[in-house]
Symmetry: C2
Subunit: 113 residues, 2 copies
DNA sequence: TGCTATACCTATCGCAAAGAGGTATATACC
DNA sequence: GGTATATACCTCTTTGCGATAGGTATAGCA
């Protein structure tokens, strides 16, 4: 059975974060790992084994565009959002909000724990 | 590699919902499926193939307790939270809040659109 | 008679995320 | 000079949740 859309509402948080950060400014993989760790106060720590494959996938699917640059003897690959990537971000953010609202409403049902 | 705790912060939403609903009152599996669909306005629709195995797992792990009752010729298995289950709910809710806050803060970084 | 709703169940699949590696250069420390 | 740490890239494999797709059985209605 082939899946057309519906990106599995319950996960996809790493992708959402990456897309959102790249909307602000271009970044490279190693930088994203630290940015996510720092921005979330270590609530979310994603390994390079999560980030790099995701960047490659997103680029293959046309959501990202990359350029290679050497800085201080180090080769970095900077990624930016394409228009398709912005659209994908919008959809991911919407899906996240929907789930968040749903969960929050259930959690708040007439009780405080 | 054996996992001790850390329930994979990014998912676990179905478990969180089930625990939360069972804290309110005892329910049976089929009822939970509909309760989740209704309470979330169909934002989250979990199949029976998700709910039943989860109930069995949670019971096996001591988070739930069940009793069997026949109503109108139909055999239902009602589940309630044990003290361990309440603790598990608290932890799941805390984890969810942490992730939610982290994601929200990243999403809100100086941009609208 | 047959369809729908209720109520339980398990077995398999897909895929995102986690983990564990591996390469290479720059820099700081002994 | 040697060694450890930080930077920066990479991929392979495992895991486990969630999704799908079945299956059983009874009650009730048309």
């Amino acid at each position: 059975m082939k899946r057309e859309s519906s990106p599995n509402y319950l996960n996809g948080v790493p992708e959402l974060l990456v897309l959102r950060l790249l909307k602000e400014r271009e970044m490279y993989g190693y930088e994203l790992v630290q940015a996510i760790r720092d921005a979330t106060g270590e609530a979310i720590v994603l390994g390079e084994g999560v980030i790099y494959p995701m960047l490659h996938l997103l680029e293959r699917e046309g959501a990202l565009q990359s350029r290679r640059q050497t800085v201080a003897g180090r080769s970095r690959i900077y990624y930016t959002l394409t228009p398709a990537g912005e659209k994908r971000l919008t959809q991911a953010a919407t899906a996240w909000t929907r789930i968040h609202d749903a969960v929050t409403s259930v959690l708040g049902v007439s009780a405080r724990g």
